[in-house]
Structures are given as structure tokens and as C-alpha cells.
Subunit: 145 residues, 2 copies
DNA sequence: TTATAAATGTAGCAATAGCTACAAGTTGAT
DNA sequence: ATCAACTTGTAGCTATTGCTACATTTATAA
């Protein structure tokens, strides 16, 4: 098989081309999801708490919040806590749903809760609609029995 | 519920802290895997082919190859094609095995080949040993029937 | 009220990963 | 041998995401 270049790793191209934007989008999802959790459970989302949770400095959080604000997912004022916009809440909800499906799916394979949570963090951003749907179907089948 | 910060998203911390190194590692895996494919199928791995396949310019490839060389995964000389070191071959093989398991697993859920390949590209880098093991077990069960 | 601690902001550095534009080397055909 | 096409290298720009160090604001306690 002489192997035309065009036959090698074709499916990979598109995925990697988008690397940068994708990564920014992943970050956005992680942030809004976490902000939503903080607001729901603690009443407010503060930069320091996000930083502690994400394992980065408050500086990194501050800059990311600026970007999210620029992109319309959050609102923020100096020295005040962070709020989600309607778009931010929507994104947070989608992300959360996706996250929960992935976790439940991994749990259904016998993965421990902690590992499922940890793996889901990485995986959830790379699951297509089709695959997520397959996860749901698999879960339904399991539940039915 | 006053919601201690410490109870929110704890599993996420470690995963995100490593973001940068992780991403570099993912890139390394993608590159060595692709280089191995080119060498196996076309006899040599040239920067231009990698660039075309990855959807980036040759400049980006050139710099990444420098890094991989620095990290001991490849050898390269000016205007020559790229070779894997022993470490590079090892990494490529591991990555390929992991990739194939993820693809087979997704296929077993009824995902189309193309989508399985595409999703696997993103997912394979975020699957823990435990989860990969669960995938294998699931595949064995399916096969057995 | 005032001093101190905690939180947030700002300045500026590094590495990675993109890009365009241009320079230089390699290869193949005539 | 030379010219043209292709490939690779270099320079220099942007953006993201880390960091430390230091400044400022807010909140709390004495």
C-alpha cells in the first residue's frame, strides 16, 4: 500500500485545525459552569474562589473573566463578584447537562465516582452530539433492565 | 445552605491545573502518532505533509518539531525529513493503541466510523487508565456475545 | 476610627500555538 | 548546468494562559 498522503489521518484535520478556538471555548464552559455552581451553592461567585478551585492564580482568573465579559457570558465590575448573562447561563446549563451525561455514562461502565468526575472534565468537551446521544441511549438501556 | 467553597467541583482542580502541560503532551502524542503513520505508510515524514494533515502552516509544524526534538521524541536536521527516537516510537505506539481502543469502543456504541475517529481524537487524551480498562472490558463483553 | 487582612487590579515576564511575508535550500526537468 | 517549483527556515506579529511582584480597594476587627 503506497499510502497517499491524503488517506492518512483525514479525520484528524478538522479537529486539530480548530484547536485554539476549541480550547478557548472549553475554558469558557468550565468557567461558566463553575460560576453557576458557586452562585447556586454559595450565593455569589468570587474570583478568588474560582482561582482556588481551578488551581490558578487570581490573575489568570481575572483575565479570563475579562475575556468572558468581552464575549458576553458574564458581567463583572471592579472588586465585585461575577454574574452570568443570559448567554452565560445557557452555556452553563448545556455544559452541566453534558457533564452529567458523561459522568453517568462512565459510572454505568463501573468507573468510580471520583474518576468519572475527573475523566468527564476532560472528555465532555470532545463528545459530539451523536456520541452524547449514544451515551444517553446506552444509559436508557441499562436503566430499563 | 452556606456552601463551603471547598465542596464545589473538587475533582476539577487537579485536571485543570495541568492544562498547559497536558496540552503540550497531547500535541506531542498527535504529532508522533502522525509521524509514525507517515513513516509506515509513505516511508518518510515531511513537515509539509504534517502541516497539510494538521491543517496548520509549515511554520507551526517546524516549531513543534523543534520542541519534540528538545523533548527527545524526534530527530530532525535542516531540510531533511523527521524521524522518531525510541521514546517517540514508544509514545506513538501507546497513543495508537489508546486511539484504537477508543474508536472501537465508540463503534461498539453504534457511532459511525467517521464520527468515532473524530471524537476519539479529542477524547483519547482525557481517558484515564481505569476508564480505558473499562472500555476494553466493555468491548470484550460485546465480543463474547 | 483606624489598622490589618483579604480580595482584586495592574505591570510585565515566559511558553505555546497560530499567522504572514520573505529568505534560502533541494529537487527535478530541460 | 540552470531554472522553476517545492520545501524548509527565519523574522516578527497576535492571542491565550500561566506566573511573580507590587498597588489598590474592600471588609473586618480592635
Amino acid at each position: 500500500m503506497p499510502a497517499k498522503a491524503s488517506t492518512i489521518g483525514a479525520a484528524r484535520t478538522a479537529a486539530v485545525r480548530r484547536t485554539r478556538d476549541e480550547h478557548a471555548q472549553e475554558t469558557a464552559q468550565d468557567y461558566v459552569e463553575l460560576i453557576a455552581e458557586f452562585i447556586a451553592e454559595a450565593g455569589e461567585a468570587r474570583a478568588t474562589d474560582l482561582a482556588r478551585r481551578l488551581g490558578v492564580t487570581h490573575v489568570t482568573v481575572g483575565r479570563t473573566i475579562q475575556r468572558l465579559q468581552r464575549e458576553g457570558f458574564v458581567t463583572a465590575q471592579p472588586y465585585r463578584s461575577i454574574f452570568l448573562t443570559a448567554a452565560g447561563r445557557r452555556l452553563a446549563q448545556e455544559s452541566r447537562r453534558r457533564h452529567e451525561i458523561v459522568v453517568a455514562f462512565l459510572r454505568s461502565l463501573g468507573i468510580s465516582e471520583a474518576m468519572a468526575q475527573s475523566d468527564a472534565e476532560g472528555i465532555e468537551h470532545h463528545v459530539s452530539r451523536e456520541t452524547l446521544q449514544a451515551f444517553v441511549k446506552h444509559l436508557r438501556k441499562k436503566t430499563r433492565n
